[in-house]
Symmetry: C2
Subunit: 222 residues, 2 copies
DNA sequence: TGGGCAGATGAGAACTCTCTCATCCGGCTC
DNA sequence: GAGCCGGATGAGAGAGTTCTCATCTGCCCA
């Protein structure tokens, strides 16, 4: 349950997605045109399809349509153009299970993939992440340190979530930028530093270790 | 699949919830102490339990614990005190299926109840609401009118959602206030008027009809 | 026809959020 | 030990959001 087909023709996005998926333990395969997408998706070798709408050859809608016409129940998450609700509606009506509109944060795509691949969808979605005395309530966007509740802004929360999902692992600024800010953010910025500082201030300095020249790391709990 | 047990001792909230549930087509029953809650919940007469943590007699945790000890699989949504993530974690670990922290917007509770009662949880959650040429993307908080995409703020979106979920129905300011702003908002405010104006400006005046002395109504589509 | 009242509207205060920029600090290297 | 460089920090600009308030408008009824 971890073979994922990524149909996306923009190199930058395809690589962003496939790298991230691999790091998260999935086995991604990338194709960059509609015909191959349909072909591979029909092979039965995949557990989920991430499908860009704007594919050359056969567009995403067409791929989806033919796939469903062949009675495939493969879960499909479509990537729709920036801001196009029309595409979203059409895609969902055309049999997509979910969608992401570009530009998206990788963590969000990951959450949706996990949701679609979950063995028992009846099982409650994990909405509170914990790491030692640190707890993140994914729904209310609030955090708690040793019982004390802390309000986090959207960005602060997304960053904290990324750390908690990769405890003990050194995360580079680039990784954090692409996971939290999206794939098309200015890599020269020092936002990451600034937001790590915000988190340190709100959650306590002891959680976030600086690894000089490398990035930051959420300290592991004993 | 529509009999809901509400265990809540604060009158104001109990009535807010039960009224809303009735209006949404459910059949709510209210109890105001832990012993009755456990009693009724064990009867097999209900499809879901909305359980306040701070109940007199037996508190919510205890009710939940005993319920699960008796092998009941009744879906339970707990209501936790303002900001207490600790309660939330304890509740979910104690076998709750979901939670709401007070003060909550009614529409949100409703969404969670619907989710838990859905026949086939595998079926994609409805994430785009439409009403004629009006579409609301619940996830990206964007709306579309005849293909044109419009950005809405959180409040604007919640208000629009309420209208679209009750098309053609006159909604009083009080109803809108409690649904969109929560149950403890100053009833003397004219925020509703102001936000209806914002929606008219962004989505078009034709959608929102003023019913003098009564409230507002989303016009039905031909 | 005039007054009153419900609703519409304009303006703006308070606040939050996000990000940039300039400067400071301190460890590492030579 | 000096200088450099990565990172920490403080400050603030700019944008967006939410809500209040005062005023305007126009419908309805006496």
């Amino acid at each position: 349950m971890n073979r994922i087909l990524v149909a996306e023709d923009e190199d930058r996005i395809a690589s962003f997605v496939s790298k991230g998926l691999r790091a998260a333990g999935f086995t991604p395969t990338v194709v960059d045109d509609g015909v191959s997408a349909l072909d591979y998706a029909s092979s039965g070798e995949f557990d989920l399809l991430v499908l860009d709408i704007g594919l050359p050859g056969l567009d995403g809608f067409e791929v989806l349509k033919r796939l469903r016409a062949n009675r495939s129940t493969l879960p499909v998450i479509i990537l729709t153009a920036r801001q196009s609700i029309t595409d979203t509606v059409a895609g969902l009506e055309g049999g997509a299970d979910d969608y992401m509109s570009k530009p998206f944060r990788f963590e969000e795509l990951l959450a949706r993939i996990r949701l679609r691949l979950r063995e028992d969808p009846r099982e409650p979605e994990l909405t509170v992440l914990t790491h030692g005395a640190l707890a993140l309530d994914l729904r209310s966007r609030r955090a708690a340190v040793e019982g004390r509740t802390v309000e986090l802004s959207a960005r602060e929360f997304a960053l904290a979530e990324t750390f908690v999902r990769h405890p003990g692992q050194v995360l580079s600024r680039e990784q954090l930028l692409s996971h939290v800010w999206g794939y098309d953010f200015d890599p020269g910025s020092n936002v990451v530093d600034v937001y790590v500082r915000y988190l340190r201030k709100k959650l306590g300095v002891q959680w976030f270790e600086t690894v000089r020249g490398m990035g930051y790391r959420l300290v592991e709990v004993a």
